[in-house]
Symmetry: C2
Subunit: 367 residues, 2 copies
């Protein structure tokens, strides 16, 4: 039913669609590990549930769960959300799940990149990560989708965006990091992206969001909202360490054109006021050797660009910063006049190192 | 998507179809526990694979696997078989999986009985069994099928057969055993069966197969092959301890009529020569307190009635007993002239305490 394929999506006529194209559904993994999620992961589970419920209003949602949490997740989630066993080391399905590609006939296949917990033994965030690395295969298997496996290329879904129309965007900070594919040149990496995402051009932002522990994933700083159009996490505060990162991205994008020769339209999305871990939050996280500590006062890589586009909706992280939360909603409503903007309070997710886009993975319908 | 339902299938217009009705597919669980399956379960896994492959020629097969065995199972099984995570204590999906029921409109629902490893703390075969007890729910959840849960009634799928036309058949030895529902009368148990299988009449054989450790499941001694027609495990050897058990079943069935008032047509299916555990086989099984030992010379409850009916085929256990293997094939080909009879050498399965019917669970299509 679900075969492993040789060859490449590009050669087979497949491309990664834009997230704004139609979805068959959305995948989420259930948070559990107490060395990343405070208080036994219970507050995070509620936040994940809120995200799942918000998306389930617009498209089918499946939540994958370790066996140990199956009953708890099934109980906490409403009945219209499907819960299946899906062992994982942590709950970032954007990064360990498959990148789906589609062809003209509407067929859907998966790309199953190697996953090494954002840097492996160089600067990865935990060890081991073998369960995460099997998630893409298991999702494809469950859905009966053939997949391409890359045993020799490390990549996370959060480190790429596609416009569905020939162009992908990434950050150099992540894709050229020592913990991913250190033996490959930038040109070789770009060729892999072209072959497996079915694109003709790759845009390379220098950086992502300040202190983003994924080596600055692109999905935290920009989001394609239509071919030729992106939102960009921004700050007007030139003294903020984020300023030079966003400014260099803007400068780059203003000079560039995409695969179709279009100038890019950039919409600024102002970041929230600083989100700092409180003492209480820090103390709720188990200390374990070899995982990233969560310390009081640490600044979180909070950005509104880390939203999820669902069928007919945008699921937007909110941080309790009234001014910027409202501004982000307003901006996105202008960008997506035909979609409902649904805000979800996401502090518990950013405390774990990511946000709504990081914990979701769309499965395109191919339609 | 998959709701828990109040009420009963019977009240809602649902019935358990005959196994010979059309299937959407078949479920199997992967054997793993080394205190039941010899030599690290490797020989059993090959036998399960052979069964899965045989069935997959005729209908979709999904194999559920504990996380620890996912990669091994995926590697051993061909690509046309779907492999999903499904934690279990052992691999008897006939018994711990859902009993599917259908209605006139072709809708399919699950019945999720309580499972207690064939007798719980009275005479169950292992402890604990909590993972097994969740299998039915998980299968229904994955398939998006609503289900009825019976928290107050213990039953295994192997202890019932349905003719799809108003009649079910069970054994008293099993359904009235101390380890199942000791506080219920026979009449109360019968009412549960009527309500949840959507039948009007229950036939009660006194016994099943000699030394069958399930307290003599009905699926090892008879199999409905059409409404009004059953095959019966039989022996002509009056000195065989199986003889009085089969004889009393025959006597009972010859006197009985079914829900439609039909006399029953009985086809005898001679059992194989004694299957005894060898020293080598016994020594391959881990000794663990609280599980049934597998000792040299133990007679296995071998019976050809423990076959699986697939779309267009019958998957028949063979024991390497040429005369009886051939006779069983011939008899079943006469019973099912329109189906292909596919024999699978099943010694490794019977060594674990069951056979092909016990390790499979059909999901009817409702068509």
């Amino acid at each position: 039913m679900a075969k492993r394929l040789e060859g490449t999506p590009r050669a087979d006529g497949f491309r990664m669609p834009g997230e704004f194209e139609h979805h068959a559904g959305c995948w989420i993994l259930w948070p559990e590990r107490t060395d990343n999620w405070r208080n036994g992961a219970k507050p995070a589970q509620k936040a994940f549930r809120d995200v799942a419920k918000a998306i389930a209003r617009f498209e089918p949602v499946t939540v994958g769960v370790n066996e140990s949490q199956y009953s708890a997740a099934r109980e906490m989630l409403p009945e219209n959300i499907r819960v299946v066993e899906m062992s994982n080391d942590d709950s970032w399905v954007r990064d360990c799940g498959p990148t789906f590609v589609v062809n003209e006939a509407g067929e859907v296949r998966g790309v199953d990149w190697s996953f090494n917990a954002w840097g492996g033994l160089v600067d990865g965030l935990y060890f081991p990560w073998d369960k995460d690395d099997k998630v893409a295969r298991k999702i494809c298997e469950m859905e009966g989708k053939d997949s391409y496996r890359l045993d020799d290329f490390v990549l996370e879904g959060g480190s790429i965006h596609s416009d569905g129309d020939g162009t992908a965007i990434v950050t150099e900070a992540c894709l050229l990091s020592e913990g991913r594919n250190p033996d490959m040149t930038k040109e070789e990496i770009e060729q892999k992206l072209k072959d497996y995402l079915g694109v003709e051009k790759v845009l390379w932002l220098p950086n992502g969001i300040y202190l983003d522990e994924t080596n600055e994933h692109v999905d935290n700083i920009v989001h394609y909202v239509a071919p030729g159009k992106l939102v960009l996490a921004w700050t007007d505060d030139e003294s903020d360490p984020q300023y030079p990162l966003s400014k260099s991205a803007l400068d780059y994008l203003e000079k560039e054109t995409d695969a179709k020769g279009r100038k890019l339209e950039i919409v600024k999305l102002h970041i929230p006021d600083e989100v700092l871990i409180t003492k209480e939050e820090s103390e709720g996280v188990d200390t374990v050797d070899g995982t990233l500590p969560r310390e009081e006062g640490d600044r979180q890589a909070a950005s509104y660009a880390n939203f999820y586009i669902a069928n007919g909706a945008v699921i937007l992280p909110l941080f309790g910063d009234k001014i910027h939360d409202e501004a982000a909603k307003k901006t996105l409503q202008e960008v997506f006049p035909e979609r409902e903007i649904v805000g979800v309070f996401a502090r518990e997710i950013i405390l774990g190192g990511g946000n709504i886009h990081c914990i979701t993975q769309q499965q395109p319908s191919g339609q």
